[in-house]
Symmetry: C2
Subunit: 301 residues, 2 copies
C-alpha cells in the first residue's frame, strides 16, 4: 500500500510522463527523460568502479534456479523470490490452456517450473564465477542488472523489477572491510555532490516471518549491513545504496579461496538506480533541464 | 540440441571468455569485450531510429500477465511463454519450502502464479500505450529489452533470455507498409556495412504444434513476416532481424485509431542483439581489436 504522499508523488511522475503505469503495481515504463538521468548516474558509478580496477561482467535478468536453491535465498526471502514457469505439455493440453485463458479461468497448473529464476540481486550470479583460488590482492567485479522482488506496491520507490548497479569484492577479510569503508565514503560523496541529503545507517535485510524479525535485529546489531538513505516520498528516508559484508558465506558455498588456501571473504555494494533517479527528481524537480547548475555537471562526471 | 558446429563455436566463445556459461543451456553471461560490440551496434540502430523520429520508451523485462493473455500469445506460442511464480504462503509453509529445497525435493507447488510474465518480444508492452487516436502521420516508437523464450539449447545463437532492439510503427496501412520497406533497405545496408552476408527471406513464426505448422505455412505465403538472415554457426543462415506486419491485430485489440476513426495498422522490426554480435565475431574473428579497418568505423557510426 502506498501512503498518500507516495501516491501523490506517483501521480506527479505520471503527470509529467516520467513513468508510465502498466496496470500492475510496481511495474512501470520510463520515458527517455527519466532514463537519461538514470543512465548518467549509472555512468558515474561505472567510472568509480573502473577507477577501482573492477572487471565488468554482464548477466541476463535470470539466474539458474539451482543458484537460488543453493545460496539459502529461499530460507530467508521465500516471499521475494520469483521463478519462471513455462508450458511443456501436449497439443491437447495447449488447447485446454487456450480455452481457460479465453474463459478467464486459472491456468497456472498447466505450467511447470523451469530451470531459471529471476535475478534476486545483481551480484548473485557473480559468486559462482569466482570459484577457485583468487589472485594476490583478490578480485573486484562490477555488474548492473534488473532484479526482481515480489512486493507489489503503489509506492513509486518500490518496484517489482528494478536495476541495481553493484560492485563486488572478494579477498582477505581486512582488505574487504577496508574496501567497503572506502566505498561508503565514495558513495556518500557522489550522492552529496548531487545535493542529495544522504546518510549512512545500520540496516537489516527483509527476512521473512516472525523468526525473520529476530534475524534482522541480530544482523543490525552485528553491523554487517548498512545503507545510504535519502528522502524520497516516505516519512522515513529511503535506502538507495546498500553495503553487505558476507564474511565467509559465499566463499564457503562456492569454494573461493585465498592464495594461502583459506576461505575468501566477500562484500558488495549496490545502488538502486530507479530509487536514485526518483530521489533526484524529488529533490530538484520533475524537469531535469531546470535542475541547479551545479547538479548537472556532477551527474555527467 | 546443438549441432557439432554450434557446439564448437560455443566452446570457442567460452575459450576466448566472450561468453561465460551459467550451467543452464541458453543462459550465459557476457564479457565486457562481447558487450562492447553489442552496445556499439545497438547505438547504430538507435541512431537510425532517432533519424526516423522514433520516441524511445524503456520497459522492465516483465509485462503484466494479463497482456500475454489478452494478445493471443498463449494460443500461438504457449511453449515459449514464461510467467513468474512466487511464494505467498504462511510461515509454516515457508519452513516446508526450505525443507524441500534442502532435501532436493520438488517445491514448485508451493509457489503461485503472479501478475507478471516475462516479456516475449520487446514491442509487446508498447501497443497498450498507443490506445486512443493517433496523431496525423501516426507514431513511431523504439524500445530495447530482454525477451524470454523457453527453448533451452546449446546453440550459442539460441538464448532463453536475449535482447531485442525494436522499432514500431502505427498508422495508415500504406504508410506502415512503405515504412517497413524503407527499414528493410536501411537494415540490410547497416548489416552489409559491417561486411555481414545479409539477405532478406520470407519467414514464419514458431507456432506451436501440428496446427501451428499450417499457420506458419500460410503466414509465409502471405508475406506478412520477413527476416534478415546471416551465417552464424548453422547449416542454414540464422535470422538476426525480423519484420512483422500485424495489419489490424493490435489496432483492434488496443483500440488504436487513425484520425478518421478507422483502425490503425501496426508493424515492427527487431534486431536480435546477441545474434548480430555473434554473427560479427563469427565473421571477423573472436578478437574485435583485430577486425578489418572498415568494420570498426561502421560499427561506431
Amino acid at each position: 500500500m502506498a501512503t498518500p504522499e507516495q501516491q501523490a508523488f506517483h501521480d506527479e511522475l505520471v503527470g509529467h510522463r516520467l513513468i508510465l503505469p502498466s496496470g500492475v503495481p510496481g511495474v512501470w515504463a520510463r520515458s527517455d527523460a527519466f532514463e537519461s538521468v538514470l543512465q548518467r548516474f549509472d555512468g558515474r558509478v561505472r567510472a568509480l568502479a573502473a577507477a577501482d580496477g573492477a572487471e565488468r561482467l554482464h548477466f541476463p535478468p535470470v539466474i539458474p534456479r539451482r543458484l537460488l536453491e543453493h545460496t539459502g535465498y529461499l530460507d530467508s526471502f521465500p516471499h521475494l523470490a520469483g521463478t519462471v514457469f513455462s508450458f511443456t505439455g501436449s497439443e491437447v493440453q495447449s488447447r485446454e490452456l487456450s480455452r481457460r485463458v479465453h474463459a478467464g479461468e486459472p491456468w497456472a497448473e498447466l505450467q511447470t517450473q523451469t530451470d531459471v529464476a529471476l535475478t534476486p540481486a545483481a551480484c548473485y550470479p557473480v559468486y559462482p564465477m569466482l570459484r577457485g583460488v583468487l589472485p594476490e590482492g583478490g578480485r573486484t567485479l562490477e555488474v548492473q542488472n534488473h532484479c526482481f522482488r515480489h512486493e507489489p506496491s503503489g509506492d513509486p520507490a518500490r518496484l517489482q523489477l528494478f536495476r541495481m548497479h553493484e560492485v563486488i569484492r572478494a579477498g582477505q577479510p581486512e582488505a574487504v572491510i577496508a574496501w567497503r569503508a572506502t566505498w561508503l565514503e565514495r558513495s556518500l560523496a557522489l550522492l552529496r555532490s548531487l545535493e542529495l541529503d544522504a546518510h549512512a545507517v545500520h540496516a537489516s535485510d527483509p527476512f521473512f516471518g516472525r523468526a525473520g524479525k529476530m534475524l534482522a535485529a541480530s544482523q543490525k546489531e552485528q553491523g554487517f549491513k548498512f545503507e545510504i538513505v535519502v528522502p524520497i516520498a516516505s516519512e522515513e528516508p529511503t535506502a538507495i545504496c546498500s553495503f553487505n559484508y558476507h564474511q565467509e558465506h559465499f566463499g564457503k558455498l562456492f569454494e573461493i579461496a585465498l592464495p594461502d588456501g583459506s576461505v575468501a571473504h566477500t562484500a558488495c555494494l549496490g545502488f538502486g538506480l530507479e530509487r536514485v533517479t526518483l530521489a533526484l527528481f524529488r529533490r530538484h524537480g520533475l524537469d531535469a533541464r531546470e535542475w541547479p547548475a551545479a547538479v548537472r555537471p556532477a551527474l555527467d562526471g
